[in-house]
Symmetry: D2
């Protein structure tokens, strides 16, 4: 009988001059962990969303674009996929994608915020889709940097799902020489270090370019790739770093073979999508070719 009005909104401010407003259908959880403000909501347009410190982390409607991009180009490119390491990735979707590959014998995931893992299991089970219960999953709650220092293993792929090093962000100090050296030491020969690497949108690609410049000092091949993730309102970029493999030059047939052997169904990624991801528009190539400061 009574009118139903949209009274509750999630407002994501990108800057003081830009914001995206999403009508909220339901708030599953809103609170503070030891590390961050966390909310799990359902928006009318994007379905369930994980919001951390006011920023969209992933949405039901398009999280597969992000997570398939983060994981599969790297795994398709490498030969030795038995051991994979994920830094961050508390929702469990990165883990889910890694474990879709039958060659993976063990996937270690280290996330500092155990509450995000717990909340994701409860409210976002579609993200992990059972991956936390996979016997190949080794989930550790703790500081990724400490893990990298203390762990003795090596990994065919190291997948970093950490926040990008924005000025004043807690992850800013993590983007430094000591960490790069630790990561590289954990990378098996022929391995790939892939990381989410800020935005590649036409008006905010400088941080990504600076990350790329920095990592070129450590690796022979540093490739940018990106996908538009609607819930982020942005082109989201990644970097694939390796001394052995150039991800922009992986053969389509190799990708076809890799994808064909994945468990479950893919939504976004295959050989044609790989070609899209690594074919960069002119303006981004210009930006990446610029000299500039590094971390």
């Amino acid at each position: 009988m009574p009118k139903t009005e949209r009274w509750q909104w999630y407002v994501e401010e990108f800057s003081p001059t830009e914001a995206h407003h999403h009508a909220i259908d339901e708030v599953y959880f809103a609170g503070r962990t030891k590390f961050q403000d966390v909310a799990v909501i359902r928006s009318a347009s994007f379905g369930k969303m994980l919001v951390i410190d006011g920023d969209t982390q992933s949405s039901e409607r398009d999280e597969r674009i992000y997570h398939e991009s983060l994981v599969h180009p790297a795994l398709a490119a490498i030969d030795h996929r038995r051991e994979v390491l994920i830094l961050g990735g508390g929702e469990g979707a990165t883990l889910r994608e890694v474990l879709r590959c039958p060659d993976v014998a063990r996937c270690t995931m280290v996330d500092i915020d155990g509450d995000v893992v717990t909340l994701s299991k409860r409210y976002l089970p579609e993200w992990s889709a059972g991956a936390f219960d996979d016997p190949r999953a080794r989930v550790q709650i703790g500081d990724a940097l400490v893990f990298l220092k203390e762990d003795g293993g090596t990994y065919g792929a190291i997948v970093s799902d950490l926040t990008e090093p924005l000025p004043d962000s807690p992850s800013h100090p993590l983007f430094c020489d000591a960490v790069f050296t630790d990561i590289k030491r954990r990378l098996a020969p022929g391995g790939v270090y892939v990381l989410q690497a800020s935005t590649a949108g036409v008006h905010n690609m400088t941080l990504h370019a600076k990350m790329a410049r920095t990592l070129r000092r450590y690796y022979r091949f540093v490739r940018s790739f990106y996908a538009h993730v609607p819930a982020f309102d942005n082109d989201w970029a990644f970097l694939a770093c390796s001394d052995a493999v150039d991800l922009a030059a992986v053969q389509p047939s190799r990708i076809d073979d890799y994808v064909a052997r994945l468990r479950g169904t893919s939504f976004f990624y295959d050989a044609e999508t790989h070609r899209r991801l690594f074919s960069l528009p002119l303006y981004l190539r210009h930006e990446l070719a610029k000299e500039g400061d590094v971390f």
Copy 2:
């Protein structure tokens, strides 16, 4: 460590061209009862708020302005305060104010939505402040119209806290001759029927004037009064109807005596406030003097 951003907002749309945005600190409850969409939130500026069907019902910061205005001018004016009837008023704050008067022997409250009463007890205990446990309180969950028809009692004051009869609103049919007649039949001699009666703001006072015109057909004295309630973003109006008492002419000394005997402390109302409430600005008197249609 991480920045804390305002991501969650309550947007109250007054019309397609006007809205008030309130940052939300916490959502205590959001759901649907049998009758309406109900939310209990805490906003940064107004404290706890009850929101029904997207409209603010009352706020912690200023609910006493509304509830003291609704109850005390009428009770101060009448001689026989033993029996009081409240129509609606699920939050319990109208009941609280009525029971502050020691002359009240029994206060009957009839609200159709038992879930609102339950939610208010749990999340808004400051509103009822124990009133639901007062032995003088008789709370009935049911249709006020049915109650009015079937009940045999009479009341010194009948206090209507029902929604105003907006077109297309569920309370529109309640504002009709049959109901007026039932209410008048339940009013004890010398009694006052007081109701919340929409807005008296300079750009939306026509519904109030129409309500006043309508009730003037039933009562000798029909007085408009209003207070600005910040959480409503509006001047909120009431009507006091009686064949015996003119609320605009109550002696200040009588009000002083009445207020002095109230239990607890008042926030808004006393003799000087009464004078403010019933002293109407010129434009509102002009509007109220106009001829026009009735319900």
Copy 3:
């Protein structure tokens, strides 16, 4: 044929947690004077609006509530109305109201921002309604403080339409002993100094109370009064200061006589409205009775 959508909005932020959104029908002017950002718009709900530095200054729909309150209680109360001084008031509506009184022989208005006067003449002619062309008007563009120092005249009423002394606001330094002394020196015997004096809303009345406390050091009678001005989303307060007249005690018959002689028609003010303005709710009287710091 094509749909017409509301794409342009005026957002007034009251704090980081509260904002009012108004759909804009037309922007007449938006720019920067030597002193401030000025916009003249037409909103769907309030008609034409003057916006300075992002804050609503007045709206077509309700500016008469503000300007009649600022001018007429003071003029009604004093005996000698020949000379009136307005500080600020660039829109011309304060001048308009003063000149409605036939006893005023000359009204001096001093505003620092000549561009606001020019813009108001062009875009808001309803505000001044010809007052700038009245031979009794003496409009000076300049610093009110300098004028007060250099001018040799005295005034039966001094009406201050200046911004309130918010911290960090340019008018903060104007609220100091030197200025109070200058103003008092310009006040004729029996005169009244009236000023707009911030808000008296239930959740933001401390600045008003501090202004009142401060002025009580200079005048025998310092009366608060306020009206809800919808376009301000707030109860707007004024202070009437005098050593001779208590504005809260002016006889209704005196006000009736005063109002009857005004030219044109009044919208808001008369003796009954005066009673409303000066009858303060309990909570505001409590706030005004508190000890506290002064300017």
Copy 4:
């Protein structure tokens, strides 16, 4: 001195549950032509923007992504570029891109709204960049459908910059058999018809797929391609239709040659960008492969 606040916002509503808010720095023009509501503003994030009927048409920051995508893949693919026809395209940026190609001897542009052309020349000169003064430009103000019927010429490329056929939109009737037949009749042998074709975002690609299905009835090759245009908050799609050329199979070397001969500098498009544009993600290929209704 005074604070400068963001008071003026452009709100683009994508649906009742989603909106993007842009702070406005300046409004150059806002009014109504014979056909539509038109505004030219400057936003803080996107620079100048053209807004028609509440929807972003193009922005200074990224219009080249859209206009280079609309024009160059088609021109690169065809052999005979002497005659090009643009339907719509009032801002002049499509014309600008066509005329960058030295092989074009004449570019005819037909737009129904002469006021948009005039406004664009005055306020958005960066869009046309002199193209309206190029002797090869033939600009006609009129109905594109009438032109198609009456014109006797044929064109190597027909570029449609018309609004997509949303239900209830004025361009809905333009997407029909009669028009398709007229367009095809104006296409020279070996020619390409390219059109902007709604969105390919993961949650709103059904209209694009329906447009593609419809056009497959008329052409041997119908290729979808898209680019993320940040100011549109969406992946924007195009369709390239031809009986002679498959735009997804154009040789990179041919594109390199084409681009090298363009006048001025490109921002977005070259052979690598072409590869990105025509490499579609899995979910979009699935959507395009579905059976379904047609126009």
